[in-house]
Symmetry: C2
Subunit: 339 residues, 2 copies
């Protein structure tokens, strides 16, 4: 076994846009295990937009990522050494191991490490459709958008880890699912492979007026439920298309992660159309995870829930892959493959 653990630390906080200088690749020694501890070798590292918020000192929904420490993040891997009776070498596990090749986990810490079955579900899916992004999609759609058959549901970042699940779950519930994505390839994938009814290319309609008109064409009956991953121009246009009593789940505002102002142009539409907007983060709703994971896992195992992955190779590639994610360069769930 390797005696060195390479990890990516947060070197400095971004001033505006995040860049590669904010990260530092470090080699650390492998500590000896204490009783009750488990060593996990990470196979995949998850990269997610929420990490950008953690890099700032400003108020966000979670504590800041400390400077000079390993970047936080979800991981899947295998147990390579265990001093805990509940874990054996070879067990496949999901955890929050961070941007590094190995992690040492207290096997007794509740929820820190979860064994998963990879017979019918690929290990990497536990970081995507059958993991935090999938449950995020499930919660926002089911608990906030509350779609009824025949309604129209829109989701931004529709080809991504969260958006792709939102639309497929909405379709399964008899809704018209309309995606918003950047570029013809992503839009084609959303409609042809994921089965959405339509997809609006925000890059092909880059000014607010053109985008609004394209969205209008894709939502002839208006919008009843919206799942927002982006914010800015997209949310502005969606608000104008919302039907009375529509519901909007605010999951991400990636367009404002660099600290710039992304004003909502016509908030009075919330009143005019009697809308409900709700911001949420899925880790605060652990009570839904079992129900959501059961449905998502079953659908993935049956091949009824499709997803796509962008896979970067090796821990050193994590910063660039993450910065690309913030710019929408990924196509589907962004992962870093370490083994």
């Amino acid at each position: 076994m390797n005696t060195v653990n390479r990890q990516v630390q947060l070197a400095s906080r971004p001033k505006g846009e995040a860049n590669a200088e904010n990260f530092r690749l470090v080699e650390t020694a492998m500590p000896t295990l204490a009783d009750g501890q488990v060593r996990v070798q990470h196979h995949y590292l998850s990269l997610d937009p929420y990490m950008r918020g953690r890099m700032d000192e400003s108020k966000s929904y979670a504590a800041s990522q400390p400077l000079g420490e390993v970047m936080i993040g979800g991981t899947v891997g295998a147990v390579v050494e265990s001093r805990h009776p509940g874990f054996n070498v070879g067990d496949k596990v999901v955890g929050m191991g961070g941007w590094q090749e190995y992690s040492v986990v207290d096997g007794n810490a509740r929820g820190a490490l979860r064994k998963v079955d990879t017979t019918h579900i690929p290990l990497s899916a536990y970081l995507g459709a059958v993991g935090m992004p999938g449950v995020t999609a499930w919660y926002g759609l089911m608990k906030i958008c509350m779609p009824k058959a025949g309604e129209t549901v829109v989701v931004s970042a529709a080809s991504g880890a969260v958006g792709s699940v939102v639309g497929q779950l909405a379709e399964a519930r008899g809704c018209r699912a309309v995606g918003i994505a950047g570029g013809p390839d992503k839009c084609r994938y959303v409609v042809e492979e994921l089965g959405f009814d339509a997809c609006v290319d925000y890059k092909a309609h880059a000014d607010p007026k053109a985008f609004y008109l394209a969205l209008k064409e894709a939502t002839p009956d208006g919008i009843d439920g919206h799942f927002e991953n982006v914010g800015g121009m997209i949310l502005d246009a969606v608000l104008r298309r919302m039907n009375a009593f529509g519901r909007i789940a605010l999951c991400g505002m990636i367009s404002g992660y660099d600290g710039e102002s992304i004003p909502l142009t016509h908030p009075q539409l919330i009143l005019v159309s009697r809308l409900k907007l709700e911001g949420f983060i899925v880790s605060e709703h652990m009570e839904v995870w079992p129900e959501a994971l059961k449905e998502l896992g079953t659908l993935v195992a049956l091949g009824k829930l499709k997803y796509r992955e962008s896979v970067a190779q090796g821990i050193a590639a994590a910063p660039e892959a993450f910065l690309g994610l913030l710019k929408g360069r990924n196509f589907g769930k962004q992962l870093v493959k370490l083994v």
Copy 2:
């Protein structure tokens, strides 16, 4: 009895700010009653901010007010002639008689005319604390802000017909009630007579930064529930003070009624603080009216719910009084006294 009915009609739609030219005072003949009809002489006419929205052709939560017809509006008065067995001359009634001295009502139309008891409750209160504004306050506070004892509840337009009820109901539920109002007289009234814990004078803190700091001082523990009647700078500042899982009832955005844009500067705070925003209009929630009116009526009869009225005299004064209301010149519920 008078044979002429004077009424105010909508003469033209506002271009930007509404003005006196948009209204026209007209004398009309009194029609003869048909079977089942009731003639009501209006004692008071209610003026409410929602009427501004009706003057526009643009999408609003209700149909536009037609041009050349009597302005819509709530009224209280007395039956002066009846060809319906359920109504007798002298009965005190609440209805939607519009901006005119008399109205003819179909006594069989469900909900068109409601008899009220003025033994313990003044007739005019049925247009305010024990009427639509009171139920608006009750619904937004109880069903959207859902205040718990010990929490902080903020309401804008705090000395007005709706805001004054919101704060007093919140105080009665053990909350810290903080008002926002314009000018020292209104703020003093809100604290000293209505019993709010604090009131922020938005005119004395006219720029966004000063207003935010004043609001911060008045809400040392942050804000858990907010009832918005105004929008703009006030909502921006409130969003920054909201605690996690806070609730915002959007009832009015009077600052944007003239069609100008009133952007929300930092909508990402809805996500960061996991807030819930909901727009509503009380006429769509008729199921709560009996419960709300019972509580409000009891509190007014007992002298435990205080309110104030601005009373204009005579139907010809209605347009100016209404325009003043839109500029915050009223102090409490704006009425027009006709008898």
